[in-house]
């Protein structure tokens, strides 16, 4: 089985962001990067499915060649090769432009199974996975917490608001990975050594232009300062009073 795991480099989730001097972009000072939280699950699932069914795992990222440390980590965790679609503006691309660039490469690679994160933790789009599937004509199940592949078909459980949904589909398919799908492994020393010899190649991205303009980027307004109404159970009446008469939620 040919498996592609799509991985995005994003700022770490503890970032306290600043707005750049143009008032439209993310200030770059102090940003540390990591593989997006759910993309770690995509890589783990790719490796697990390969261990079960055989095949090959390619990690694919639209990004900059200067940021390949994260891709080496994916190779150390069991992926076979990594491809960076080189685009210096990767972090500014809209979701459709990103999906088109990735889809073109996936088509060329020819995948049976494409795994993406449920959402990238930078722009919170949750769009690229289902967009890839739509562009490629593949099946797609989003927010997946359990995946079973059997020959050329599969079933996936999806975490929905009312409960858990089960979907049946045929390969090729795009699966977007929710947290409970798996627990990503740590790269062992052996994996780290092996990763050094695995191919990490650069390819041209051909990303189409964005279809929107950023007008402004701002820090959200601060919440008005609150107060401690008291200590221990004795403060309960004061809280009830505040909820009823100030917040008007009781």
């Amino acid at each position: 089985m040919k498996i592609v795991a799509c991985v995005k480099r994003v700022p770490t989730t503890d970032l306290k962001p600043q707005v750049g001097s143009d008032g439209k972009s993310l200030g770059t000072a102090g940003i540390q990067y990591e593989v997006s939280f759910y993309d770690e699950r995509a890589v783990e699932e790719a490796v697990k499915q390969k261990e079960q069914h055989g095949g090959e795992v390619t990690v694919l990222s639209l990004g900059s060649p200067s940021g390949t440390k994260e891709l080496r980590e994916c190779l150390a965790k069991g992926a076979d090769e990594a491809v960076v679609l080189v685009d210096e503006d990767w972090s500014l691309r809209d979701n459709l432009a990103t999906a088109k660039a990735l889809a073109a490469k996936i088509e060329e690679l020819g995948a049976d199974l494409v795994l993406t994160g449920r959402v990238a933790t930078d722009r919170d789009n949750a769009a690229v996975g289902p967009m890839l599937a739509t562009l490629l004509g593949y099946a797609c199940v989003t927010d997946v917490v359990e995946l079973t592949i059997d020959g050329t078909s599969g079933t996936a459980k999806r975490e929905a608001e009312g409960g858990v949904e089960t979907y049946a589909f045929s390969l090729p398919a795009v699966i977007t990975c929710q947290k409970d799908l798996n627990e990503p492994r740590h790269a062992g020393l052996k994996g780290i050594m092996a990763a050094k010899k695995k191919p990490l190649t650069e390819a041209e991205a051909n990303t189409p232009p964005n279809q929107s303009e950023v007008l402004s980027l701002e820090l959200p307004p601060e919440r008005p300062a609150g107060r401690i109404v008291g200590e221990g159970a004795a403060a309960v009446p004061a809280l009830i009073d505040a909820l009823r008469n100030e917040a008007k939620v009781l």
Binding site: L135, T166, L217, V236
Partner: protein, 313 residues
């Protein structure tokens, strides 16, 4: 005159509140609003919608790709310039596919839409709400999902209801739904959320959180990542950057320290209450009202007091 299509989700023949907000947002932009409803009960749910027209689509089995193909064809047929859906699990599943079929990007989880001189102006959070972005689409069609509790509900109306045949062959089909035990409210939908963290000490103690939630009547239980990772609570209850984003009328955080990733998921709640034994816990910086003290002492008293207050009416 522009036309905007809106996905209206419904249950037992009644439209979901979040979808009525999406209809309200479309109506506020002016032009003609066309609701699209799928599956059994669609015709009933459509009757009183505040839209000029309602398209009901009979799908024998739910398939997000088929729904998207049907919507995209309806967008073309109506020469629509927009498609809106609530940012629910269904809306978020269908909308990116519609966007790709229309060859435009998706604007997810928008908190405001404004009609400007050069088309709509979109407001949406980035980095889990740590930044607010304003965007001007340049495409002919705008596809967006809308965050709950950010848009006024559409008023009732009497749309012209028309049935529409679904398009295409399904690529993925829904075969089963395991409903949540006891039909519990989802954290993302509830008007009141009571969340517990590591300060609850043991999973067995969460009955105190559940009882407070039950006292409010319309509340759901939430959790911090620490207790989800520990296996005390299901991930479906996790609030935060790698869980759910919630924006209820009232959010009560009990034994939760207030890590940046947790705050990202709940800081737009209308009112925030924190209960924590550590007066310096970061959660108090965000809370409107706080009680410093032991959750095990405070929760039973608060539960009784909420019951009494609600009984008084």
């Amino acid at each position: 005159m522009t036309t905007i299509l809106v996905l209206v989700e419904h249950q037992n023949g009644v439209a979901k509140r979040a979808s009525l907000e999406a209809l309200g947002a479309a109506n506020a932009l002016g032009g003609t609003t066309v609701a699209v409803l799928f599956g059994a009960g669609a015709a009933d749910a459509a009757k009183t919608l505040g839209a000029a027209r309602a398209l009901t689509v009979d799908l024998d089995a739910w398939s997000p790709d088929r729904a998207a193909a049907t919507i995209a064809e309806a967008i073309a047929a109506h020469s629509a310039t927009g498609f809106l859906a609530a940012s629910t699990s269904t809306g978020r599943d269908v909308a990116p596919r519609v966007a790709a079929l229309c060859d435009v990007p998706l604007y997810s989880d928008c908190t405001a839409l404004a009609a400007g001189a050069n088309g709509v102006e979109i407001t949406r959070p980035w980095l889990a709400g740590k930044l607010i972005a304003k965007l001007a689409p340049s495409s002919a069609i705008v596809v967006a999902t809308l965050r709950r509790n950010c848009f006024a509900l559409a008023e009732e109306g009497a749309p012209e209801v028309e049935s529409l045949a679904p398009v295409g062959e399904p690529k993925a089909t829904l075969t089963n739904v395991e409903a949540k035990a006891g039909g519990k409210l989802d954290v993302a939908e509830a008007a009141v959320v009571v969340s517990g963290g590591r300060g609850m000490k043991e999973p067995e103690h969460f009955h105190l959180i559940e009882e407070l939630a039950a006292a409010f009547g319309n509340a759901a239980v939430g959790a911090s990542r620490a207790v989800v990772d520990a296996g005390w609570r299901p991930h479906a209850e996790q609030v935060g950057q790698t869980g759910k984003t919630v924006s209820p009328q009232l959010y009560i955080a009990v034994g939760i320290s207030g890590a940046i990733q947790h705050l990202a998921g709940m800081k737009t709640s209308a009112t925030i209450v924190a209960i924590n034994k550590d007066a310096d816990a970061p959660i108090f910086k965000l809370a409107d009202f706080g009680i410093v003290g032991d959750a095990f002492e405070i929760l039973p008293a608060l539960t009784e007091a909420v019951k009494a207050a609600r009984a008084e009416g």
